[in-house]
């Protein structure tokens, strides 16, 4: 990338300036993220269990036992389902919201504030509001569907795994979609208007100009939005925990990490699982980034 970018001949002092601008990043990320991460990765090769004496080196044993554990496998499958549903729904919904916000002329700032509201609600309150909506006896969902005639008897939504996974994802999507919308809106805002004008003069309709102008120019924003929704979906915890506890139907990988490390005190095993979760979300994100990310400069 750097080789293709047009560049000024290096001025004296450029390196010093770069250092001054980058040092805060290196200090903060190095001290507060990379160093703790390295410690945890190292710990995951030992047996760290406060209930047993000693911390012997066990190599990959923690990782090996995770592969053999049926509960962990179930948690992985649930998490993949969450990621797939959350990423698709958040991207489609967020793109729609961003395009709409970009187009609306009157009261746009109010519409944006309304769009962002779900994200402002404290996560615990969010999960509890939905818990009441899904409540089989007193919840809005059953009453509304009965009234509309969609169902003829009250449903216990979380008794069916597929429905439960979808509803947990829905709560997550409701909260996180504004993030995608804000990122895409910022990207849309930086597209110069004359490009659309030019496309229109070339006879491109709205769909064609979206494909030819909008998509390429927001591709880096889209990569960011896709990656962050993937990462947040891999880290899903509150929604599943509050809506259905440790149920195997909805247990996510991070819930399994919590149970392993903070409930069963198998600390290094929990760290190993959380590192695997990190690698998995990195790998999935990388797929988008490589596919979607293109350098978009026009100079």
């Amino acid at each position: 990338m750097s080789t293709s970018s047009p560049r000024r001949s290096r001025k004296p002092g450029e390196l010093a300036l770069a250092a001054a601008l980058v040092v805060p990043i290196v200090v903060v990320m190095g001290g507060l993220v990379f160093w703790p991460l390295a410690t945890s990765v190292l710990d995951s090769f030992y047996r760290i269990d406060p209930m047993r004496p000693g911390t012997p080196f066990v190599g990959l044993a923690n990782y090996g036992s995770l592969l053999a554990d049926a509960n962990t496998r179930a948690a992985w499958l649930n998490t993949f389902a969450y990621v797939a549903m959350a990423v698709v729904l958040e991207t489609i919904g967020g793109m729609g919201a961003a395009l709409l916000l970009n187009r609306v002329k009157h009261g746009r700032q109010w519409l944006l504030a309304i769009t962002v509201l779900p994200w402002c609600l404290p996560p615990v309150v969010n999960a509890i509001v939905w818990m009441w909506i899904f409540n089989p006896s007193y919840g809005l969902l059953n009453h509304a569907l009965l009234w509309l005639g969609v169902i003829d008897a009250r449903k216990v939504w979380f008794n069916d795994q597929a429905t439960a996974l979808f509803l947990v994802s829905l709560v997550h999507v409701w909260r996180m979609m504004p993030l995608t919308a804000v990122i895409l809106l910022a990207a849309l805002q930086s597209i110069p208007r004359d490009l659309y004008e030019a496309a229109r003069l070339d006879g491109a309709g709205p769909i064609k100009s979206f494909r030819l102008v909008t998509l390429p120019l927001i591709s880096s924003g889209l990569a960011i939005a896709l990656s962050q929704s993937t990462v947040f979906a891999f880290n899903l915890f509150d929604e599943a925990w509050i809506l259905s506890g440790s149920s195997l139907d909805t247990r996510s990988v991070i819930i399994q990490v919590y149970l392993t490390a903070f409930q069963n005190l198998r600390f290094s095993s929990g760290m190993a699982l959380s590192i695997l979760a990190m690698l998995a979300s990195l790998m999935v994100s990388l797929i988008y980034v490589l596919r979607v990310y293109r350098e978009t400069r026009y100079d």
């Binding site: 047009p6 300036l17 919201a97 504030a113 609600l121 969010n126 509890i128």
Partner: protein, 290 residues
């Protein structure tokens, strides 16, 4: 000039889309509001779209001087609530300012300046987005203890910055990359320095990106739970997200109180978004394209 007839379907489409978006976003919030206004004894009944009987007792518990619990007059939770509200504002605000400043200047270096290890460093920083909080929590706790930063605004702010900097940095980098270099080149030809160009030409043009980064960082920090749970043991720095679950008493989940607290908690970020939003959608790019 197009006729009204030909734009009518488009207008109706837009109106329907706006209505859907508003209903989707506000529906559950409205439901939370209704719950916060419903007397506790009416919570378990057939749900109705508006409360049959409105009570402000949950809000009174939050903001009043005293309230009644289990038949006893007890101190209201307002002192805790207001302290936590201030903590949420201070930590999220500080984290936002520091993150956006570091990201705005740092991302510029990643786009326009050459230095060894540039791309590797960028990828490494962005990759940390994927780290679950649990992975680093215990080593981070040891570090914060040794720096004596537990239960300080500085400590919480630093952790938030380290958590939200990658996203802001990535966003700002993509914004700078999309910006025509010709504008800067014109300024350099006039003899302007890098910093001058960055501050006076690049940053104003990047306003939508800066504001989006600020909103993202602020709201991410506002909703944090795990970090303050461990690093903010007392009301010196404890935010609303950690305080609100404490309204679950052992015998009794105070749904009304939790929802009332939630409704009050969304006001400050919404005001901020309304305020910042002027800059996010004010079409500042107009200057770049004329």
């Amino acid at each position: 000039m197009r006729s009204l007839i030909s734009t009518l379907p488009r207008r109706i489409g837009t109106a329907v889309a706006v209505a859907l978006l508003v209903a989707w976003s506000l529906g559950p919030i409205y439901w939370s509001l209704v719950t916060s206004l419903t007397p506790p004894l009416h919570l378990l009944g057939t749900p109705s779209l508006w409360p049959r009987e409105i009570t402000f007792e949950h809000y009174a518990k939050l903001v009043g001087a005293t309230s009644v619990s289990q038949g006893n007059a007890v101190q209201s939770v307002w002192p805790q609530f207001s302290a936590a509200l201030v903590n949420s504002l201070v930590t999220s605000g500080l984290a936002t300012v520091v993150t956006v400043v570091i990201a705005a200047f740092g991302a510029y270096a990643f786009v326009r300046l050459e230095f060894p290890g540039r791309d590797l460093l960028f990828v490494a920083v962005v990759a940390t987005l994927a780290i679950p909080a649990y992975t680093v929590m215990i080593p981070l706790y040891r570090l914060m203890i040794s720096l004596k930063l537990i239960d300080t605004y500085t400590g919480i702010t630093l952790i938030y910055v380290s958590a939200f900097l990658p996203l802001a940095l990535w966003l700002m980098r993509s914004v700078y990359q999309a910006m025509p270099i010709s504008l800067e080149e014109a300024a350099w030809l006039d003899g302007a320095g890098r910093i001058y160009t960055l501050v006076h030409i690049v940053l104003p043009l990047s306003a939508p990106g800066l504001i989006a980064s600020a909103i993202l960082t602020f709201l991410n920090a506002w909703g944090q739970f795990m970090v303050p749970l461990v690093f903010s043991p007392t009301l010196a720095t404890k935010p609303l997200t950690v305080l609100i679950p404490e309204f679950v008493t052992r015998n009794y989940i105070d749904f009304g109180l939790m929802n009332a607290a939630g409704i009050l908690a969304i006001i400050p970020p919404v005001l901020l978004v309304l305020f910042l939003n002027r800059y996010l959608v004010s079409g500042l790019m107009a200057g770049a394209t004329k």
